[in-house]
Symmetry: C2
C-alpha cells in the first residue's frame, strides 16, 4: 500500500511562545524570533537547532518553522521548509509574494543545499541569515551540502536580497549548546 498523505506539524508550544500579532518591524526583531525558535526547539526536544520565520511587508508575521526531521521521520522537514510551506498554506499561494512584497525569510542559520533551492521558488524578496554555514558545521556538526560557488549572488540575480551575520553570536550559541549535547543526527 503506497502512502499518499504527508502530514507534518509544528510543535504545540509554537502557539504559546510566538506572538503572532506583534510587530516585527526591524530585521533584528525578525532574526531574534528565528533564533528564539531554534533555541526553544532544542529546549522542548522537538527537533534540531534551527528556526525560521516568514514576514510580509515591513512587520507582519505570516508563519514560522522549526526543524522536525527526527520527530517526524522526514528529511525535508527543515525549519525553512516548514516556514515556507505553512506560510503558503495560510495565504493559499505557492509564491509568498504573489500579492505583493516584500516578503522576508529570517533563518537562524544559513540555508542548507535543499533550503537554499527552496528559497528560489518560495517567493521571498529578502533572506536574513544568522549563523554561517561554517558555524553550523563546526559548532553543531551538521553538513550543509553542496551549494553553487556564488550562492548569494545567484539569489541576488533572481531579485532576492541576502543579509548575513544578523545576531550571529546568539545564533552560534544555540548551535554550540546543541553540539555539546552530542545529539547531532
Amino acid at each position: 500500500m503506497l502512502y499518499v498523505q504527508l502530514h507534518l506539524t509544528l510543535p504545540a508550544w509554537v502557539h504559546d511562545e510566538v506572538d503572532a500579532a506583534a510587530d516585527y518591524t526591524s530585521d533584528d526583531a525578525k532574526m531574534a524570533l528565528a533564533i528564539r525558535l531554534s533555541r526553544l526547539n532544542v529546549a522542548h526536544g522537538t527537533g534540531g537547532p534551527f528556526g525560521a520565520a516568514v514576514f510580509s511587508g515591513t512587520h507582519r508575521l505570516i508563519g514560522v518553522g522549526v526543524n522536525r526531521v527526527v520527530p517526524q521521520s522526514t528529511s525535508i522537514a527543515h525549519a525553512e521548509m516548514m516556514a515556507f510551506a505553512t506560510s503558503q498554506q495560510r495565504i493559499q499561494q505557492f509564491r509568498l509574494n504573489a500579492e505583493g512584497g516584500p516578503v522576508t525569510l529570517a533563518t537562524s542559520s544559513q540555508p542548507c543545499c535543499m533550503c537554499y533551492g527552496a528559497s528560489v521558488w518560495a517567493g521571498i524578496d529578502r533572506l536574513l541569515i544568522g549563523a554561517r554555514a561554517d558555524d553550523v558545521e563546526s559548532l553543531a556538526g551538521f553538513d550543509e551540502g553542496p551549494l553553487p560557488s556564488d550562492w548569494a549572488g545567484e539569489l541576488e540575480k533572481r531579485g532576492i536580497e541576502v543579509l548575513r551575520d544578523l545576531r550571529r553570536e546568539e545564533a552560534c550559541t544555540v548551535l554550540a549548546d546543541y553540539g555539546r549535547s552530542g545529539k547531532v543526527y
Copy 2:
C-alpha cells in the same frame, strides 16, 4: 493565528494507476514508472509534468511522487520531495537507506536546485534521471535554478550514483506536450 499543520496529498488516481506490488527490477522499468506518473499527472490535471518513484533493493516500490505545487499552493511539493517524504513516512525513517540499500530514486526530469539538495539528505544510493535540465527549460519553460557546477560529482562524492538520459526521449515528450499547452506555472 499561525498555521502549524502541513497536509499534502498525492492524487487519488495513484492507487488505481500504480501497481505497488510489481517487480521494478530494471532501471528501465523504474524510469518507465516515473515518466508514466509525470504523464498521468498532466492528463488528470493534478499538477505539473513531473513524476518520481523510490525503490528499495533491486525491485521493490516504496513510494511515488508527482508535482502538486499549484493544486496544493505549496512550492516545496515537487515530485521528488513528495516521493521522498511519503516513502519516509511509510518506513518511518528520515534516511531511506537507514536499514540497508541500495535505495533508488527515479525521476522523470533532472532535479531542480531544491530537489537536488533534498537528494543529498533523503538517504538514496542511486539517482536515475530521465530528461535533462536543458530539456525541462527549453520544452516546458520551467527554471531549474542554480546548481553547483559539478552537481553530479558532488552527489557521487557523497556515495550517490547518478545515471542520466534514461528513456530521455519519452520524458521529453511529456514535457513538450505540457509546454505546448501553455499552462506553465
